[in-house]
């Protein structure tokens, strides 16, 4: 369990984090979202015991990060932003160093080392110094470090930042694999990641929590929730189609994209419009390339909430 109560951090007159309270339980993957500079990293650093809060408290598995920092850190695996590391060390030496600090010994040490090396596919680079590794491998070494002691809580600050799509996919698969029995908090500003891995999302803006919901719940706040998007075969039909769709009583607004001959019909609050639209298309002989129901656009919700 991660618990924060009125967590606050001021740097001089600058407020980095203001009155942030939340709880995360086992099995939850919490996505921490927000624009750059919103206070995500500062919050995570306070959870990890690296930054001392100005006010409020945080605890990891019941251990207060200020009063009992060693117990809190022992229960936590943490990947700092940008996965900083000791460049001159080889991967093998570095992982052994971490295993030493995590007091892993004997058979368990061997097993954990084998597990993280295998899981993060580090076999091929064990003897390479970390500074010679690609960004993706460096991130994996950072993740290996975080999960070395099989902690119940993982806090990962932008785990996929700067990775290519394949590497992103790998990291997300890894997070999903671990999600069942752990508490995971990741920060990101990539919204697709929230859908891909998170069970819950907190949006933070200017140091404050502005939304705390499931990804679906957040998407439902979008103007596009339950909107219907249709792409026409014949761009020439666009003006007449638009007029017909706008005439439907349940449609609040129509957006047209001439570039790909697409019409998006936004519903009036809570009314389903897909049946009416498909019936309309059949009746007026519109040739459709595509017709689909939107669940809502996270990026639009994100912009609305944080701007």
């Amino acid at each position: 369990m991660i618990k924060t109560e009125h967590l606050t951090k001021h740097y001089g007159t600058l407020t980095a984090v203001e009155d942030v309270s939340f709880q995360v339980g086992p099995g939850e993957v919490l996505g921490f979202l927000g624009p750059n500079g919103a206070g995500k990293t500062t919050t995570m650093r306070m959870l990890a015991g690296f930054v001392t809060p100005t006010a409020g408290s945080a605890s990891i598995c019941g251990h207060d990060v200020e009063r009992d920092p060693l117990a809190a850190k022992a229960a936590l695996g943490y990947l700092p932003e940008g996965a900083p590391n000791y460049g001159e060390m080889t991967v093998r030496r570095f992982l052994n160093f971490i295993a030493d600090l995590r007091a892993l010994e004997g058979a368990r040490r061997t097993a954990r080392l084998r597990h993280v090396i295998g899981h993060l596919q580090l076999e091929g680079v064990l003897e390479q110094t970390i500074e010679t590794l690609s960004k993706g491998f460096r991130r994996r070494v950072g993740l290996a470090q975080a999960i070395m002691h099989d902690p119940p809580v993982l806090i990962l600050d932008e785990p996929t930042d700067g990775l290519d799509p394949n590497q992103k996919h790998e990291v997300r698969t890894l997070i999903n694999d671990m999600a069942r029995d752990k508490i995971i908090v990741i920060s990101t500003h990539i919204l697709e990641e929230v859908d891909a891995v998170c069970t819950r999302a907190i949006i933070i803006s200017q140091g404050r929590i502005v939304a705390d919901d499931t990804p679906a719940g957040l998407a439902a706040r979008s103007r596009y929730h339950n909107a219907v998007s249709m792409q026409l075969e014949e761009p020439a039909q666009l003006p007449s189609a638009r007029a017909a769709v706008e005439a439907l009583p349940a449609v609040a607004q129509v957006e047209v994209s001439e570039r790909d001959a697409r019409l998006t019909a936004l519903p009036k609050a809570g009314t389903p419009i897909l049946p009416a639209l498909s019936e309309l298309a059949a009746r007026t002989g519109l040739k459709l390339k595509e017709l689909h129901l939107e669940s809502g656009r996270l990026d639009e919700v994100f912009r609305t909430i944080t701007s």
Binding site: R45, A48, G49, F50, V51, P69, L70, K73, A74, L76, Y78, P80, E81, G82, P84, N85, Y86, G87, E88, M89, R93, F97, I98, D100, L101, R102, A103, T129, G142, Q145
Partner: protein
């Protein structure tokens, strides 16, 4: 204490994983021998002692030790690895001590590599080996004092260059405090007690008394307190500014 050992080992391995250790040792030995034989006129003095080596050692340390200590914390802060280190289950004290002891052991190793001088002087004459041993001990303590100051300066900044300059300056100030020229300035107007107080802060005064073969508890205490004080200052500086 277990963690101090782990951190110390990592640091020591890192010294030798980069050219730093080799460059330091080679330059240290070259300069030490040059000072001893050329500036110190080892042969011309015609005395079987290592006076000409130990007399110049503080000035050699003045530049080389801050060059060693400048990376202790500035590098960690600059690369961000301090965040990785300090979110492991260790205390700040363990980290400060581990890094300091690694640098100190390395300094001791470099100092030990001047043993050919000791062999030479024993081959040429019959030196007072007890005094030489005492002088080596004094050199080790002097190195520790410089390193503790350097560690503190390194914790104040992300820039290794600034850490180096601050380190040289702070060490110079503590060296010169016992210099006759500096003490004369005080002597002209201040009461003797102040002159004594300034002199007692000096590296040179304490180093010289150990170097002469007199191991006084007060001199040992001076170095122990100086090292503790600057390591404490390192920890405080890091606690306040590690995340900046």
């Amino acid at each position: 204490m277990r963690n101090v050992g782990i951190i110390m080992r990592r640091e020591l391995v890192s010294y030798f994983a980069t050219p730093l250790a080799y460059v330091f040792i080679v330059i240290f030995l070259l300069l030490a021998n040059w000072f001893t034989f050329y500036l110190g006129a080892f042969y011309e003095r015609g005395q079987a002692d290592l006076e000409s080596f130990f007399a110049f050692l503080p000035w050699l340390y003045l530049f080389l030790i801050p060059a060693l200590s400048m990376k202790l914390w500035a590098e960690e802060r600059n690369s961000g690895s301090i965040e990785l280190l300090m979110t492991q289950p260790i205390t700040l004290r363990e980290a400060v001590l581990g890094k300091f002891f690694a640098a100190w052991i390395f300094t001791a190793f470099a100092l030990a590599l001047t043993f050919p001088l000791w062999i030479t002087v024993n081959y040429l004459g019959r030196p007072d080996n007890g005094a030489i041993l005492a002088a080596y001990l004094g050199s080790l303590l002097l190195g520790g004092g410089f390193l503790a100051i350097g560690s503190c300066m390194s914790s104040l900044t992300r820039s290794q260059v600034i850490a180096f300059i601050l380190g040289v300056f702070a060490c110079l100030a503590l060296l010169l405090a016992g210099f006759p020229g500096v003490l004369d300035v005080f002597r002209s107007w201040a009461p003797q007690s102040i002159v004594d107080a300034v002199a007692s802060l000096s590296f040179l005064v304490h180093f010289d008394s150990i170097r002469k073969g007199v191991i006084d508890v007060r001199d040992l205490l001076y170095f122990a307190m100086l090292i503790s004080l600057f390591l404490l200052a390192t920890a405080i500086a890091l606690e306040l500014r590690k995340a900046d």
